[in-house]
């Protein structure tokens, strides 16, 4: 340490020889480094490394080989070219590596020499006296203040300029994206606007406009008798077998039917019952590998079609998904694969605004085959799909609006899941379901109410996020749980009917039993709420109308004379009922 001061003191002169050596060393090392640096730079710019993995020439040769896989000469050429390009690539890398070490070495020598020279030339500082420190400090502070404000502004303005200059192609939300994908950001399609307005006076899907069994008409007839034609507007035989329910739009009534050979969509005139057309769903390209087998009770056409007022959409147990226009022309079709479902496919379709929702649960949960899709109604283009780690189910989803949240509510085994219907993103889930799920969910009194056969009825508040099992379940009830039919509800009362005909009434808010009533008939068709009446169609061919109130009160009975498996459609003072053999239009004859 004693030499420290001496080293820095001009009084101790450095040996001239070493200084001269350092000076020359600095020049030589600097020149050497500059040359090496320039050579590396020129090498990089003039001979860019051809990564063999990205070689266009090699890719072209491989493409040629794909066309002619047996060409041995071409294979040899590819191998030789690949080896050559790899060797060239690694030679280039080795040269760069050696050059980098030379540059580092040269730069280190240059710095060492330069520091020596610089230290020798260093002069002792001679600080000057600054007379007015306060004034200078004030001036410096003012300058620094402006400098910080300026540089902060430069940063913010640069960010803003970059934001203004770059318009990212990805829109801000899913709806805007879908508009963009549908046609360059065009406004909502006119037919979608017409559908949204017209769905309330029609019956566009399974269990009515909302899919909850609630009709938006109040003038439905009370009595009829198909055996003598009383209260029957028309009655026509249905040419193709099926359990799917009728849907109605304007003057059209649509049904699906079919067997192992062909699945069809039928269109009837709603005023006369005339069969306007019957069209077969196109099979998948290449046909089916083997004939699909489904249980007799379910059949090939248990899934109720849906319409968007312009097209009719149908799905079948064989996996076809097809869109016809109202004249019976195929608009688009696709094949989702034959669902592996022990009781056949029964989940119905749902149209929400411009999209067709298809719940396609199948197999066991661990197989990971269940999906829920949203397709563009006009083109069939997939808008989103979600994997569902759930087993087979047969319930049909509904869309509810909770504030600004449009939720797609889908039952599954063992989870009830709500999705954002725009994006398909999961919003919440509740572990409250069991197996053999046929009943569909309903929305009443601000709650989603679901029935899980052999388990319970559950009411859930739909304003949660994530797993809401322990936080949002309002009540559970182990009585009156339907096994096939779906519940129906007002904001106060929930009605369920079991297959054996036990009609139960439950208070929506509390989940307490209000009354029960034995209908003495088996039921597969779900009840419908029309105004303050409850309509039920049984397997004995008898219909029962009850008051939807706090007391069990039968209002009327009617007959269609054949078992009814499908849920009826209520439109404009008429009821459209699909019996085992016939399609009925009930109401007053005009």
């Amino acid at each position: 340490m004693t030499s420290l001061w001496k080293e820095r003191s001009p009084a101790a002169p450095r040996p001239r020889r070493w200084l001269e050596f350092a000076r020359r060393g600095a020049v030589v090392a600097g020149f050497f480094s500059a040359v090496i640096g320039l050579v590396l730079l020129a090498g990089h710019l003039a001979f860019p490394t051809d990564d063999p993995l990205k070689s266009i020439a090699l890719k072209a040769l491989k493409d040629k080989l794909h066309e002619n896989p047996a060409d041995e000469a071409l294979k040899q050429q590819i191998r030789a070219f690949d080896l050559q390009s790899r060797q060239a690539y690694f030679r280039h890398l080795n040269l760069n590596r050696a050059g980098a070490w030379l540059l580092i070495g040269g730069a280190a020598l240059f710095l060492l020499s330069t520091r020596k020279v610089s230290a020798a030339a260093e002069k002792l500082p001679a600080p000057k006296l600054v007379p007015d420190g306060a004034e200078r400090e004030a001036r410096m502070t003012a300058l620094a203040r402006w400098a910080v404000a300026g540089s902060g502004s430069v940063v913010v303005v640069s960010m803003l300029a970059l934001a203004a200059a770059h318009r990212p192609p990805l829109p801000d939300d899913m709806q805007a994206l879908e508009k963009l994908l549908a046609g360059g950001g065009a406004p909502t399609r006119p037919e979608v606007t017409a559908f949204v307005a017209g769905q309330w006076t029609n019956w566009p899907r399974f269990r009515g406009p909302l899919g909850t069994g609630v009709a938006f008409t109040t003038n439905a007839p009370l009595t009829w008798n198909a055996t003598n034609g009383e209260g029957v507007v028309w009655q026509v035989p249905v040419p193709a077998k099926g359990h799917s329910s009728p849907i109605v739009w304007g003057n059209h009534v649509f049904l699906t039917g079919g067997d192992a050979k062909a699945r069809v969509v039928m269109c009837f005139d709603s005023n006369t019952g005339t069969l306007l057309w019957q069209k077969t769903a196109p099979p998948p390209p290449g046909g089916f590998a083997k004939e699909t087998e489904v249980p007799e009770d379910t059949g090939f056409a248990a899934s109720t079609p849906a319409t968007d007022g312009t097209r009719i959409f149908a799905s079948f147990a064989t996996g076809e998904l097809v869109a016809f226009d109202f004249s019976g022309n195929v608009v688009w079709s696709k094949h989702l694969g034959v669902p592996e479902n022990p009781y056949g496919h029964g989940t119905s379709l749902l149209v929400w605004q411009d999209r067709l929702i298809v719940q396609f649960d199948q197999g066991e949960a661990e197989m990971g085959k269940s999906r829920i899709y949203a397709f563009d109604t006009s083109t069939g283009r997939e808008l989103w799909q979600q994997r569902r780690a759930l087993s087979s189910s047969w319930g049909t989803p509904i869309v509810i609006e909770q504030g600004s949240r449009k939720q797609l509510i889908a039952v599954g085994d063992p989870l009830l899941i709500a999705y954002d219907v725009s994006s398909g993103a999961e919003m919440w889930r509740a572990d409250c379901m069991g197996s053999d799920l046929a009943p569909s969910p309903v929305f009443a009194g601000g709650m989603v109410i679901v029935a899980s056969p052999n388990k319970q009825l559950t009411a859930i508040r739909p304003d949660g996020q994530g797993d809401v099992t322990t936080t949002h379940i309002v009540w559970k009830l182990e009585d009156f749980v339907p096994d096939i039919t779906s519940p129906v509800a007002t904001d106060e009362l929930l009605f369920t009917v079991t297959t054996s005909g036990l009609l139960g009434c439950v208070d929506v808010k509390s989940g307490k039993k209000v009354w029960d009533y034995d209908l003495r008939q088996d039921f597969n068709a779900s009840p419908t709420l029309v105004g303050d009446r409850l309509y039920l169609f049984g397997l004995k061919g008898e219909s029962i109308v009850l008051a939807a109130g706090r007391e069990a009160k039968e209002l009327a009975r009617g007959r269609v004379g054949e078992p009814v498996h499908a849920s009826p459609a209520f439109v404009g003072g008429r009821v459209f009922v699909r019996g085992a053999k016939n399609l009925f239009c009930l109401g007053e004859k005009k």
Partner: protein
């Protein structure tokens, strides 16, 4: 110190190839805080915390003693030029902007841009992006005349250490007993980190004007934060292509629109492109990532606005300083000033006889020696 720098450069730089280093570690930590799918490696956590904790007590000793980035800049410094204070202050804002950007992109799982744009790691590895290598070379060339340009005007971890150093109690101080006001330390410091004794408090009229300025700035501060936050969100959306999900979605959209998209270049972008995700998986994920970035942009911009606002407010505060001393935040504890301080030489017993012994001034502070 030079041999410490050489050792640090050889070991942490060329041998360890600049990774892992604390400069990028805040990204690991913030990603772990915001993503349930990521656990911060203990090494990264230690590299993040240790220098920071040390700085809280002892100032930025890490910068001078351990950091290979600082070491390489120290070694190339040949003829230091002292920058004017206003320029130092102006450029001193940049590390915080870079830190904010790095944290934003890390928190949203988009990218570790602090590592990606590190100018020296490609030099340590002798390979890397050509652009970054050029930037590194440029920093070294500038560093021959401007002391530690990266540490002072860009290093995001240095920005954190600077904040920690400001409250450090046992940081480096120059004079052991008494400052003779010789100013030699100021000339010795190539980083402009030595502060002169403060002049007398301003007269009453000037003080009143300063208070009015302070109040006006305080009132304008929320507006500044909101404006910068809004700009930040717009900026984050515009640059959201850094996120691999958004990048893939944008390229996919461009391909659908008939425009030839650019090939993915970053490893995570390539990996995602190869994952062959469906539109229905990709688009919602990309839009969710975009929304997170927009929200993060608000926080980034607002935070930057707050930082600049508080910095401006700080100019109105008068600090009492009796002796020449290193700035608590700017000093990197390199000890160059010790070699120039006559008092230090006396303390070590190596002062030449011609240097007069100081006499203690009444009331002069006796700071602890670092």
């Amino acid at each position: 110190m030079m041999w410490l720098s050489v050792s640090s450069l050889l070991y942490f730089g060329f041998y360890r190839k600049g990774c892992i280093c604390p400069i990028g570690a805040p990204q690991n930590v913030v990603l772990a805080l915001f993503s349930s799918n990521y656990t911060v490696p203990l090494t990264a956590l230690a590299f993040f915390l240790l220098p920071l904790v040390a700085a809280l007590f002892f100032g930025r000793s890490f910068c001078a003693g351990v950091c290979p980035h600082g070491a390489i800049q120290d070694l190339v410094l040949v003829k230091p030029v002292i920058l004017p204070r206003w320029l130092e202050q102006a450029l001193g804002v940049l590390p915080y902007a870079f830190l904010g950007l790095g944290l934003l992109f890390a928190a949203t799982g988009s990218a570790f841009i602090i590592c990606r744009w590190d100018p020296f790691v490609p030099i340590f590895r002798r390979t890397g992006s050509f652009t970054i290598l050029l930037i590194g070379a440029a920093f070294l060339l500038v560093g021959m005349f401007v002391g530690r340009p990266y540490c002072r005007f860009l290093c995001p971890y240095g920005a954190l250490l600077k904040l920690a150093g400001k409250v450090s109690k046992w940081r480096v101080l120059i004079t052991p007993n008494l400052c003779t006001q010789c100013k030699l330390c100021e000339k010795a410091c190539p980083f402009g980190a030595i502060r002169e004794p403060s002049p007398e408090p301003p007269p009453r009229p000037a003080l009143a004007a300063e208070r009015r300025r302070f109040a006006a700035l305080l009132v304008a501060l929320p507006l500044l934060v909101l404006t910068a936050g809004w700009v930040g969100s717009k900026f984050a959306v515009a640059t959201s292509g850094v996120n691999a999900q958004v990048n893939l979605a944008e390229r996919h959209l461009e391909a659908k629109a008939g425009n030839a998209p650019k090939e993915p270049t970053k490893p995570e972008q390539v990996a995602l492109a190869r994952a062959a995700r469906s539109e229905s998986e990709l688009f919602p994920a990309a839009i969710a990532a975009r929304k997170n970035l927009a929200l993060g942009g608000w926080i980034l911009g607002g935070g930057f606005g707050l930082f600049v606002g508080l910095h401006l407010l700080g100019f109105s505060l008068w600090t009492r300083r009796v002796d020449w001393e290193p700035d608590a935040g700017d000093c990197v504890a390199c000890a160059r000033c010790f070699r120039s301080c006559p008092q230090e030489l006396i303390r070590l017993g190596i002062a030449p006889p011609e240097i007069p012994q100081p006499s203690a001034a009444p009331g002069a502070p006796k700071p602890a020696h670092g």
